[in-house]
Amino acid sequence: MDPGLTSLVGITLAIGVPIISAAITIIICGNAMAGVGTEKPELLSRLIITVVLGEALAIYGLLIAFMLLSKLPSITTIEAAYKALISGAIIAVATGSAGAGISYCGTSLIGATAEKPETFSSNVIGVVLSEALAIYGLLIAFMIIGQI
């Protein structure tokens, strides 16, 4: 395969999948937040964390895509191109799973907080740990790019 095309596919994965997962997360959590906001608007300032963490997924993808883009002129061998492809795939999978975690835990967190605001501090852990998954993927993708 052509090195240029392979690394472009990597870039597409790195920016495309995180954006889709961020969008799905924001759609799901934003919906739930809007519902709670009609009853208890004072909770929204805390619950916004779910939406913003979802948005951060897209930013991680942006970072990897940006770094790959800056490396693009130096990718000449097929080996380097595979590394670019793999790092894009890693961030895609990582943000996808983080997005699933945030969507599920986030809506539950929002619903539970509306009923019992004092449970927020323990329930938020599910959301932030899901988000940490994306960071792990980001680190490894980052290290692979460092080797190109």
Partner: protein, 629 residues
Amino acid sequence: MHKLKAIVYEDDIDAVIRSLGEAGVAQIIDLREKLGEWQGVLSQYAGSAENAAKCSELLSRIHVSFEALGAESEELPIAGAPFAEGTTKETLATVEKRLAELPVEALRKCSEIISRVDQLAQAFDVKLDEARQAASREPFKESFEEVEERLDEIEKGYSTMGFADRKLFVDRIKTLSIDEKSQLGKKLMEVKRFLTEQQETMAKELATLRRTVETVQQTLEAETKISEIREDLFTLQKTAEREKQVGQAEEKLARTAKTIYLEAWVPEEHAKQSVEIIKKASNGNCVVADELASSSEKTPIVLKPAPKFLAAFEKLVFSFGYPAGGDINPVNILAVTFPILFGIMFADVGQGALFLVIGLVLTVLKKRIALDKVGDIIRYLLISSEMFMLLGLSAILFGFLFGEFFGPSGLIHPVSLGRIGPFFIGGFEPTQEPMKMLRFAVLVGSLHLGSGLVLKFVNEVKHRHFKLVPVPLFWLWLLFGGLYMWAFWGGISNISKWFADGSLMLVGFIVLPLALVLMSTAFAEGFMGGLGFSVEVFAETLSHTMSYSRLMALGLIHSAMNYLFLVLGGVEHGYFPLASIPMIVIGTVLVMIIEGLVVFVHTLRLHWVEWFSKFHTGEGIAFKPFKIT
């Protein structure tokens, strides 16, 4: 924290609650959930329901009166002192009596009648101004009821005399032939004259009524000063509102046949004062016990208030949870670490300076704008004005370390603060040397987590959990031992060496502290508890430290996003062409809003999850004294 228990005779309970509310020193305990513990001795105190209904009725009547005067109660500069007469019921009765005595009702009636007269005149098609001259100048003798009766009669006459059918009548005449018209002409003239006469009488009568009512209104207005009525109304409103709050507080109480049982939390310095208040307000018809709270009970906590300029940080801590009893209140420490972590991710001299300016402007505005008159978002911004300044300062500082001015524009050369082993503190551009940035992020993260562990140590000492006191120390050993190993063997990619050449070091820095953590927690909480906790310690040390690599990720993203707009604007090697300014303005606005929010939430999350999980459970309850406002 003291716990007051009091039994008060039922007629005096209103006065007791009112005085406690005025003093605002006691938090009344809700007894409704605990009634089961008393096995039927106490029942719920439901006497306040009737009073609550009365309060709402009076308040809405007062509100209507305010509207009749054309004044909003909020606009009043005067402060009417509320009064009280024994029980709530008696006080409310007095309020009602005084409300009925006020001339507001009569004034309202006057304007109502005048507008009705005007409406009738319009329907009649009569001009009141002309009839005014002819109106009799008799003094007003009738009551309002009679005036209204008279108006009813006039209205009835209007419909019977055929004024309403006039159009029909005219239409019918139009259809007649000329002969018929001339025959009818005479009769029509008569009808017309009759109608005109009637109209004139009506007009005269209406004008008379209007004049008399106007006179009454004028005399009433002359006799009473509107401002005085308003002051009276305001006093009544205050009184009714106060009784309403008293009633709401009383819902928490429990009763026996003739007495009311009351429990309240009181801080130590106010305990004696509160006992005196209860005794005085109930004229001695009470039994009061002042006890220390038992250790098994969850007592509310009074915290030393944080300095006013840290109000925003206080909100961030308390929206996670209130510090549990005896724990350190992390607000002051958070006010230092929060800007630092934010600054690392948002490092930029130019945008930091913008934040500083925004903070300064908001601080100036805060003094001029009343906080309760603005929307939610503006209020949050105003409250956090000082926080903006701190965040901006920190962003400027780290902007110098990483050489960022509206992105990596090359205008500022990175300033190095030194080097600890493989950790560089500043002196590099994150986008050029991301690994240095990663190491820096891990170092900062370890230090942050370390500070959390030190606070955990202090908490354990304060709670006198001496068996658990060494745990945070061993944990610190593990954390910094692991960090040292990571640095010594050149990162995680050489992990195979950890087990070969570095096996002794591995035992000393990781296995030994973990075993010690296991031993000390097993000693305090049993073996299984200890095992679970040590696994948790190991996993948390790894994952929480790794989580701080987001400092690098978001720092790079910030820099990369700015770089994008620099490239679009054509900035090269620190030279800003004039045409690049619009592009930079757009980029800065975007970055400061979107990126600022993301970075803020990540800073918050690092504190809430990674940092707080070490020492701040957030399970405390705030002491909220019952205070009548």
